[in-house]
Symmetry: C2
Subunit: 84 residues, 2 copies
Amino acid sequence: MRYVARVEVGLKPGHSDPEGETTRAALVELKYPVESVRVSKVYEIVFEAESIGEARVKVEEMCRRLLANPVKDDYRYYVEEVRG
Amino acid sequence: MRYVARVEVGLKPGHSDPEGETTRAALVELKYPVESVRVSKVYEIVFEAESIGEARVKVEEMCRRLLANPVKDDYRYYVEEVRG
């Protein structure tokens, strides 16, 4: 069966976010009164698995092995079956 | 008042996504049966505005002026007041 996972990966609190800081500076330059910007990434992954349980195990593994850096990233996801 | 906007920016359908394709290839290399990966970005922006209406107008402008490329990106957002 086909599943789709939506995985969001962002920096853990306290880690500096250079891309967010650059974006904040650019918005302030444009005269927006911006206090902070944090940037995270969303991966929408379509893949095959035998069951929703196996699908969730695979996504957890993908996060740990490739998508997130355990030292500095937090991640969260949800998985659902692709219908039709 | 302080507001927080969560803005998600991703490629319009049909636009090629090199980062997604690279991620897909890396996951396939790790033996996951992945069909497609799309990558988008989330900006969490804390800023000042006089009202929720003004806050929404500002976020729409930030998207058009800086965060999204109108040729290739779609974007969506929600805005809420920061309490306390």
